[in-house]
């Protein structure tokens, strides 16, 4: 198993000073650039520590938000491509359906891949609904635009014998020939995220690494949708390295300290959905049939405990988050048992995206969290034998 450390790089000093929205409309006057600089340097220090202790690194971006200061993720990638030596750098991800210029995306990512000497994992994402207001991209047909950007970026990364022409539905170029070309052949690995079985099937057909967030013990259903379409397309079962899961991780020598850290890290969950209502669901972001269900007041839970109980991860207790596999929390032994149980339940999961910092967890707590995980949990996870992939896929096929 690989483990990628992830932080949203929050500007938490404003978390108790907003008028109902931490995103989109929170005036940036509340952001003190000096405080932001200290936080950025601190977060990069923590990422650099990962490089030394054997953890890989995940970065993301959100826009106009106090929950995540990383608004231009290529900046963080660039800093870390130079400042780290071993860690893989996963960007999860680039919201390529929002970007006006996929050529620029291909250039940025190829450059990061070269500077890092081939350590980039390249996540392409739809982006959460709140990003629409910032990009002003039309939410209708966002995914059609996404897939054309995806096709273009891969074509740009894999064309080496001169220019090519692109006159698509959304993007137009006539002389494409990126410099530098990416280090990894044929291109950095492609990752994506989803919460839906429909999109899981699409990703399975392409064999990309698929990550989910907040799906807890409902994850298996999404993985199985992937397994089914992967099996149909490639004639073999997808191995565990095709699956990723973002879990909050709070580990400590004693259980009480771990619970305290878990509560602080879960500050991410408690704040991430504080968004002015109209920006939560822009028109066309979801299919009309799904919107009609929401309009009728049907809002099914998306996070489930092992015994099938739905929970609201934005308001849940630490104990409920642990029960739902959203937070892995406890001593090293407890954490290992929780993660392995989750992997077994999912039929295999080879990439833990570990939110080892969140909310108001301090630098010292974060470093302790990461180093303890790296010394006492990671070696065991590396040695962990994933469930048999063929057996997991056979269940789905039957």
């Amino acid at each position: 198993m690989r483990v990628y450390q992830f932080s949203e790089q929050p500007y938490y000093p404003t978390w108790n000073d907003h008028s109902g929205s931490l995103r989109v409309i929170l005036p940036n006057r509340k952001c003190d650039p000096r405080v932001a600089a200290d936080l950025f340097h601190r977060y990069y220090d923590e990422y650099q520590a990962c490089d030394d202790i054997g953890l890989d690194i995940m970065l993301n971006e959100h826009h106009q938000s106090a929950t995540c200061m990383s608004s231009a993720v290529v900046v963080g990638l660039s800093v870390l491509a130079r400042a780290t030596k071993k860690a893989r750098l996963l960007v999860l991800g680039y919201p390529i359906g929002h970007r006006p210029d996929p050529l620029r995306v291909a250039e940025e990512l190829a450059t990061v891949d070269v500077i890092s000497r081939g350590r980039l994992d390249m996540g392409f994402i739809k982006g959460i609904p709140y990003e629409i207001a910032a990009s002003n991209r039309n939410p209708v047909e966002l995914m059609e635009r996404f897939w054309e950007a995806h096709d273009f970026i891969l074509k740009a990364m894999t064309t080496h014998d001169g220019t090519f022409n692109w006159e698509g539905e959304y993007f137009h170029y006539r002389q494409v020939n990126i410099w530098p070309r990416p280090w990894q052949e044929p291109h950095p690995p492609v990752w994506s995220t989803t919460g839906s079985t429909t999109q899981a099937r699409v990703l399975g057909e392409r064999g990309y690494v698929m990550a989910t967030l907040g799906t807890g013990y409902g994850t298996r259903k999404i993985y199985d949708a992937y397994r089914k379409s992967y099996l149909a397309k490639f004639g073999r079962a997808p191995t565990a390295d095709r699956f990723a899961y973002l879990g909050l991780v709070a580990v400590a020598k004693d259980k009480e300290e771990a619970r305290k850290r878990g509560h602080l890290i879960a500050g991410y969950l408690r704040t991430s959905s504080i968004v002015h209502l109209p920006f939560r669901n822009p028109p066309g972001y979801l299919p009309a049939e799904d919107n009609a269900r929401l309009m009728r007041g049907e809002t099914p839970p998306r996070s489930f405990t092992k015994d099938g109980r739905g929970i609201n991860m934005h308001a849940a207790t630490v104990e409920d988050l642990i029960a739902a596999g959203i937070l892995f929390c406890g001593t090293p032994d407890e954490i290992y048992a929780q993660i392995v149980d989750f992997c077994d339940h999912c039929g295999g999961m080879g990439n833990l995206l570990m939110m080892g910092h969140g909310g108001e967890l301090t630098h010292a707590q974060t470093i302790d969290n990461l180093t303890l995980f790296a010394s006492d949990v990671l070696p065991r996870l590396k040695a962990y034998r994933q469930p048999d992939a063929e057996a997991a896929a056979a269940v789905v096929a039957a």
Partner: protein
């Protein structure tokens, strides 16, 4: 000419795209283009018009149950779709009536061809940009809560309130599709076509602007300036109505439309 698919609504296929279409009444032809809130809220106005005219009221591509072909993104596309529809129906001397988003479509049709048109009536029309780049002419409705939206779009917010829990499921889906289709066509540039203003002089048929006086989504000054760009166009307000005067004052709306159609 129209192909009946069920008891409630007719449907029509125009150049491969199937849309729903209501046809009511006898008399001179009226093509009614509904607003961004869909065809359902226009029912009373359509019935009122149909007492004295032959009303054809399509559901725009992407709204209601109407298909939308891939690649149809703009009101310019919609205007060509309706020019095709007029050709297909082979109607002449049509009074073209549009409300709000539908009035934008009507303007885009009329700048291209008025060959089949007799009169143009635009109510609470959107479609052009007047203010400077940092001044919104039209409220950002996608950044409003539903109560905020109802407050600015209606004279009486209750007129626009809908209880989705008690509506038939198909009507809720239609409302969701109306919101989505509005975004498809009006997201950016927001509710306007930068080219339209410079083409309005081409509208050379008698034109009437109707304006629900309580519209705070887009105000009367915008409507009057828009009206002034169409040669000879008249401007009238409708009291106790907002952005959707056909919905809040259907009888008065229909009376004004019919009077203008008959040259009164």
């Amino acid at each position: 000419m129209l192909q009946r698919t069920d008891s409630a609504t007719d449907s029509l296929v125009v150049e491969g795209t199937r849309i729903d279409l209501i046809e009511r009444g006898k008399g001179r032809p009226v093509l009614f283009l509904h607003a961004e809130n869909g065809i359902e809220p226009a029912a009373a106005a359509i019935e009122a018009l149909a007492k004295s005219a032959h009303v054809v009221a399509p559901t725009h591509p992407g709204f209601g149950r109407s298909d939308v072909p891939r690649g149809m993104h703009t009101v310019d596309d919609l205007s060509y779709f309706y020019l095709d529809l007029l050709d297909q129906l082979d109607v002449r001397d049509v009074t073209l009536v549009g409300v709000a988003f539908g009035a934008w479509i009507a303007a885009e049709i009329a700048v291209k061809s008025t060959a089949r048109l007799h009169r143009l009536i635009m109510a609470n029309a959107v479609g052009i940009k007047l203010g400077d780049r940092e001044t919104r002419d039209i409220a950002d409705i996608f950044a409003l809560t539903e109560p905020e939206y109802l407050e600015i779009a209606y004279c009486d917010p209750n007129a626009g309130r809908r209880d989705y829990k008690s509506l038939p499921p198909a009507e809720v889906v239609a409302a969701a599709r109306a919101r989505e289709a509005t975004a498809r066509f009006a997201w950016s540039p927001y509710f306007h076509n930068p080219q339209l203003k410079s083409r309005l002089h081409r509208v050379r048929i008698p034109t009437l602007f109707l304006w629900g006086a309580h519209d705070r989504m887009v105000d009367e000054a915008y409507g009057r300036a828009y009206c002034a760009m169409i040669p000879g166009a008249h401007f009238e307000t409708i009291a106790r109505a907002g952005h959707f005067p056909h919905q809040e004052q259907p009888e008065i709306f229909a009376k004004r439309v019919l009077a203008f159609m008959d040259g009164k």
